[in-house]
């Protein structure tokens, strides 16, 4: 029996198969093409770098934030102390105080649990304040706050929260309308002073080790305030402004993220509390479709239907197809 009889055959599928080229071959200098491309890219890159440069807006620090907007800082610090800030109620991977995003029964963040634990009251307020030297009033306030019942703490922080909205920062002090706030007044005033001096930046970073590179704690703290978001809004970087793909200034940013960013602008993701998981899931599906397009009937026919290939190979078709006059 010859080998021919063992060969499996199937009809030629135009979207899966390619004919073997029996036409002519022409000189094509790949090395020359590469070198020219490289030189052109270098010239383009150098030209763009000289003309436009690159953005490098200074980062926001706890110090710069609290000096620029002490009241916003104090309000945020209070939400960290009473465990009501976005980080405090985030859920995994920071804590178990919030509900992880889900689609139906699927909640992958919940499955993986807490990996970067943050207890906002202790990590952002009570812990750093306890490191202040020569501050017996602050240490006493910490002790009083910690020994109070949860409901008493809540009474103090709720009252302070209403008052701090009308606070001012004058003569180097946070001035809050008078009221019964227990030790909270001392705690937030000391926290604000510590932040304005720059000591809180160091305290948040050095809580683990000398050579720290993990900015999770200070960054989440800063992001919980309104100051960072206000700066971003001015630069058109908010989520509703296609922020993920933009960067400061008039630079192209990550334009290739346009599809990912698009989904946040359209319902139901625009208003969904599970928008992030929905958008990510959608993008995973779309990406899989793109990668697997050669296997998907219909999708793999799009190039043939759109006929853009005739533009790409127009010289070839001009040569092999008979003209109407012929």
């Amino acid at each position: 029996m010859s080998a021919e009889t063992h060969k499996k055959t199937r009809p030629f599928k135009v979207d899966r198969d390619a004919t073997t080229w029996h036409g002519r071959y022409e000189k094509y200098d790949l090395a020359k093409e590469f070198l020219i491309s490289f030189v052109v890219v270098c010239i383009l890159v150098a030209g763009l770098a000289v003309i436009f440069g690159s953005p490098d807006d200074k980062p926001v620090t706890v110090k710069s934030w609290s000096n620029a907007d002490a009241v916003d800082f104090a309000q945020t610090a209070l939400t960290e102390l009473d465990n009501s800030s976005p980080t405090a109620v985030y859920g995994p991977p920071y804590n178990l105080n919030g509900t992880a995003q889900s689609i139906g029964p699927l909640s992958p963040a919940k499955w993986l649990g807490v990996h970067h634990p943050i207890d906002t009251a202790n990590d952002y307020v009570l812990g750093p304040l306890s490191t202040l030297p020569n501050a017996p009033q602050v240490q006493a306030a910490i002790a009083e706050y910690k020994s109070a019942s949860t409901s008493q703490q809540g009474t103090w922080t709720t009252a302070y929260g209403k008052a701090v909205a009308n606070a001012t920062y004058t003569d180097g002090k946070l001035v809050v309308p008078p009221g019964d706030y227990g030790p909270v007044t001392t705690l937030i005033a000391a926290e604000t002073a510590m932040a304005r001096s720059g000591a809180l930046d160091g305290a948040l970073l050095s809580s683990r080790q000398f050579y720290g590179t993990d900015y999770t704690k200070p960054l989440l703290f800063i992001a919980n305030g309104a100051y960072l978001a206000n700066l971003a809004n001015k630069q058109n970087l908010a989520g509703t402004q296609w922020g993920m793909m933009n960067e400061t200034g008039q630079y192209p940013g990550q334009a290739w993220l346009w599809l990912y960013t698009l989904w946040y602008q359209v319902p139901p993701m625009k208003t969904s509390s599970n928008a992030d998981l929905q958008v990510f899931s959608l993008m995973i599906v779309l990406t899989a479709l793109l990668a697997l397009v050669p296997f998907i009937p219909g999708l793999r026919s799009i190039p043939r239907w759109t006929r853009l290939y005739r533009l790409i190979w127009r010289e070839h078709y001009k040569e092999v197809e008979p003209t109407d006059r012929a």
């Binding site: 030629f12 036409g23 490289f38 999770t216 190979w313």
Partner: protein, 242 residues
Amino acid sequence: MTIVDPKTERPDQADLDKAAGRPEDADQWTAKIRNSAVEALPPQKLLPDRQPAYVASWIYVFGVTTIAALIVVIGTGLVLAIFGPNWWHVSSTGLFVNSLHMWSVEIFMFAMVIHLWGKFFMAAWRGKRKATWITGVVSFLVSVGAAFTGYLSQQNFDSQWISSQAKDGINSTGAGAIFNVTNFGQMIMWHIVLLPLCIVAIVGLHVLMVRLRGVVTPFPAKGEAPGSESPTVATGEAEVQA
């Protein structure tokens, strides 16, 4: 045969050349790997000096432009790596190198996207080129990740804002447990070590597959019945590219 030249006490290259590829060595793993590699990609196929006549469009330039831009990205990134992450914030030369790095990334991604869509509309996966297409798409995805971690490693306002926004997306998938976008140390390692290694490996594989399978042939022309050159496709047959 004298493998070692007694005068120079070094291997004689002519003798080594004669010894290479001897039939009695054919069962060696090394010989098998070499023979398979040379058989699959002989030099004239690896670096051809001729292409089919239909390879005549500007769209073909974007593949090689992507690689040229990648080399500039890596080169400028190496300079930034030599001086460390703080350098470009305090030095005008450093800022210029950072600008070169940023714009080379923009051109790299632009060329890659044009290349990708060009190949899509050519249905370049046809004829045993599915793996070539998939490695191309994966190259794009890894490049998006590499650029993203670059933005997170800038240590400026952009890094802060992008990471504070992106964390919610990453965390929602559970990946935030392992991949912490607010951890500068982790992001810069991904940006300058892990993802560049992945990109170079996958782009290298992609280029080898392009050379292995060649450039896809055009769809059949008008009046030419689909598959008229090969009405049936024989699986595994050299002539046919299913």
